[in-house]
Amino acid sequence: MNTSPLLGTIVFLPLFGALAALLYWHNERTCRLLALTVMLADLVLVLFLFTLTPHFREPAGGNWLRVEDFSWMDALGIRFTLALDGISLMLILLTTVIGALTVLISWNEIKEHVAAFHFFLLAMMTGVLGVFLAMDVFLFYLFWELQSIPMFFLIGIWGHERRIYAAVKFALFTISGSLVMFLALLGLHLLHARQSGETTFALHQLIQTSFNLPLELTFFAAFALAFAIKIPMFPLHTWLPDAHTEAPTAGSVILAGLLLKTGVYALLRFAFPLFPHAAQLFTPLLLILGLTGIFYAGWIALAQTDLKRLVAYSSISHMGLIIVGIAVWNLTTLSGSLLQMINHGITTSALFILIGMLDERLHTRRLSDLGGLWKTLPVWSGFFLFFSLASIGLPGLNNFVGEMLILIGTFTRQPWAAAAGFIGLLLTVVYVMRMLRESIWGEARISPGIADLTGRELTILIPLTVGALWLGLHPGPALELFGTALTVPDLVKGLPILTP
């Protein structure tokens, strides 16, 4: 066990930054600079973690890079336990990068209540980082709830026309789901206490709990409900298009890039290991729902007239494939799903960022108002084309690797599902091509003379571009990180990870 709270610092640094931002209520520039500095400092700390090699076997025989465990509410069996493995590491890297970028994105877009905006933005980062690192289930729940509240304010205060509807819908959906999980969590805790005589919320101890099947199914359903709402899995996805469309760009980016990932991550880290038998029985359902999501959201994306809404539905469609990868549950698909989470975080975020930049210039996101942007905004269009192609899964770019891993892994177990998933990807090509045709090709409907991307905007897009190319051309290191974390002997008792 480490005694220096390095992971703790990474988690709470943004929160301190958030409180400090409030002190500069009247100085907007200082607020922005402060928030950016804090997120960059956090990023540096995360990068330092890449120098670590896995050497912790505890808890639960894992391949941990670092484990931190502090006493907290011991009487209730709650400890402040954070642990880092390859999966967490890639996800917190994504979090800090996107965190820093969102500050830059909002530099000109957010003009009102700047201090409060950065307060919520940074507080949210603490929640997300905590979710990715917590190994005490209670602590995890706390961070899980903590990330919803700032998002509610971000959408509700700085969003677009129907922001209140979207914010309340978001809060009600996500918090209702997590309250149901809360009850199951308490039930699990009490059951374990009765069996072992220990009051604990530690994940590696709760995994030892044995259940009768109906109870395990109930608990799994409650956990999966909370996570499925966040992912969002069809048919619980209806809050997401509203939230995405109404949120400010930074909000959409955090939603797509980070919040949705917490759902998948929690499914993998908590729901499956805690309830393996129930999870096994549920996998066909997850598979079907994942596939349905790909088709349903893709089909609806075809009909969208609002650029942001279109990308929102494409985001749901992509998440469907990630769920398929989790449901099939072998090393290839799991690595693929994890990689795809990072890829989706990069490409979908980039698309939302580009749409936000367009909206700042033209004050419209309607496809019918656009067209011929290639001539007026060549640099913007270049990036838009690049990330659209990445989103389709063009070989050489990041999404291709993740999608192929998922499809290949699925094919070895469920060929029909792989075939269906592949057809779903073709649907993606159709709606992305339609989006490109109506926005950057065609007749110019925008008056010329609108400035192209500025230096700040390029600074935002270039790291994402590099990330997309890196993961597309050289995914080895990332896959190795995931692989080491996944090949833990008993990550999931009773549901071994199969190597095809």
């Binding site: 509410m73 011991d74 009487a75 209730l76 209540h113 706390l142 709830e145 903590l146 509240i149 509610f152 304010f153 509700g156 205060i157 922001r163 209140i164 914010a167 309340v168 809060a171 009600l172 918090i175 209702s176 309250l179 149901v180 809360f182 009850l183 308490l186 039930g187 805790h189 009490l190």
Partner: protein, 479 residues
């Protein structure tokens, strides 16, 4: 058998003396120094809180009538602190509404005395005495604004409801005596094996529960709550919700802990139904409210539902969860009403319509932020005291095996979440179309709210010290 030790009832003596001094000063001094009465009142409750905290009266009840041990001490500190906060809120508020007379401050002190008697009584007559003292003080406190029709209406409602509940209580106590032959609570409640008096005993407890149900506004005895909360001066509402309800509940909890298994088995189903009805009806009716004080009144009804849930699991965890919940509830409700007390539409009237809170987040960021934190705590979201409170209550209720009730609780929590979000939405997300609000904190209220904020967050992040205190309190009455 017991030595006459005035020290063990120092808390009560101090409050009685303080109350009488304030009345005397009010009657005798023609030209009072400006803050004399306020200073006397806050000084009294502060000293009383310290006294209750420091002086251990021992395990044996004072003259077999009044518990002076850890259980009573815990609640005495709680009541004194609640009164202190209510007084700090009223410093500016009472002056604006012209209610700051000797009767206002004196009755606040006597109300606390009544609370401590109800929570500490181990004998039915003392319980009744405290119950009446509490009610009488509040009858007048609620009607303090004689020029406001809503205040008079509120006071009348509370008076009639209070009279009826006192009647139930008196009759219940009489039945208790008839059934057991004693007025001593522990003796009577534990020794009820004789079948001859069984019906009488159940009837008696039913009547007493009804009386308590009125005071803590359980459904279906809750209908007075919104009108009284709305009509009473806001600091009085704060004390009513954080003091009076907890006092009666503390007494009820003692009855439940002391009850024999035979009695418990028969009262648990009734409590179950009361909890379910209170949770659902409280949160559903809150949905439709358009006035903030009424909305908080209905939400406090729903909050009582969680408390009854906690009380139902008293056999599983000894009452730890429910007492923690109450402490958290006291803090967050005091905070919410405290913020409302600092807001006025005009010097004479409260800021009450939900619509008049539009844009408050920007015209009065501090108040809006504080109110939001209290509301999020009431909704049970981390990192607040309300979250830990809900966590403990739900854990206890599952431990006691009431699974369906826990589900009802979650449903109610989701409904209430919408209610609280509605207020936050209005404050932060609706454009400010209403004229600016005339208000300000005042030093006293600022101090009180800062303390409450620290308390809400501290109990939410580091609840262990408070839990240790509560464990000690419940260890003192378990038999």
């Amino acid at each position: 058998m017991t030595e006459l030790s005035w020290k063990s009832v120092f808390f009560q003596l101090l409050l009685a003396a303080g109350g009488i001094t304030i009345f005397t000063a009010g009657a005798l001094l023609k030209n009072k120094p400006k803050h004399l009465l306020f200073g006397l009142a806050t000084g009294t409750v502060l000293c009383a809180a310290i006294a209750a905290f420091l002086i251990d009266g021992g395990r044996a009840p004072f003259f077999q009538m009044l518990d002076v041990g850890d259980y009573a001490r815990f609640f005495n500190v709680l009541f004194a602190m609640a009164a202190l906060f209510a007084l700090l809120f009223s410093h500016r508020h009472a002056g604006l509404r012209r209610v700051a007379g000797d009767e206002f401050y004196g009755l606040m002190i006597l109300a606390v005395l009544g609370m401590s008697l109800v929570a500490g009584a181990t004998q039915w007559l003392v319980f009744f005495l405290g119950f009446e003292l509490l009610s009488l003080s509040f009858y007048i406190l609620i009607a303090m604004r004689r020029d406001a029709p809503s205040g008079i209406e509120a006071a009348l409602k509370y008076l009639i409801m209070g009279m009826v509940s006192s009647g139930f209580l008196a009759f219940g106590i009489a039945m208790f005596y008839a059934a057991t032959g004693t007025l001593d609570m522990p003796v009577g409640l534990t020794a009820t094996k004789s079948t001859g008096s069984a019906t009488g005993m159940l009837l008696s407890l039913g009547l007493i529960l009804t009386a308590a149900g009125f005071k803590i506004s359980l459904v279906p005895f809750h209908l007075w709550t919104p009108d009284v909360y709305q009509g009473a001066p806001t600091p009085v509402t704060a004390l009513l919700t954080a003091g009076s309800k907890i006092a009666v509940f503390a007494g009820l909890l003692r009855i439940l802990i002391l009850s024999s298994n035979w009695l418990w088995e028969r009262s648990a189903p009734v409590l179950w139904m009361l909890a379910a009805a209170t949770l659902l009806i409280g949160s559903v009716t809150a949905l439709a409210q358009t006035r903030v004080k009424r909305l908080l009144a209905y939400s406090s009804v729903a909050q009582m539902g969680y408390a009854v849930m906690g009380a139902l699991s008293v056999r599983a965890d000894g009452g730890l969860a429910v007492i923690f919940y109450f402490t958290a509830y006291a803090l967050m409700d005091l905070g919410a009403f405290g913020v409302i007390a600092t807001l006025c539409a005009s010097p004479e009237s409260d800021l009450d319509a939900l619509d008049s809170y539009r844009g408050l987040g920007y015209s009065h960021p501090w108040q809006a932020a504080l109110l939001s934190i209290c509301l999020l705590s009431l909704a049970g979201l981390p990192p607040t005291a309300g979250f830990i409170g809900k966590f403990m209550v739900f854990k206890a209720v599952l431990q006691a095996g009431y699974f369906v009730l826990a589900m009802i609780g979650i449903a109610s929590a989701i409904l209430s979440l919408y209610v609280y979000l509605k207020v936050i939405v209005v404050m932060f997300m609706k454009p400010n179309t209403v004229t600016a609000v005339t208000s300000g904190f005042g030093t006293a209220a600022r101090l009180a709210l800062a303390m409450i904020l620290c308390g809400v967050l501290w109990a939410g992040v580091f609840p262990s010290p408070l839990q240790t205190l509560i464990s000690r309190a419940i260890a003192a009455i378990s038999i």
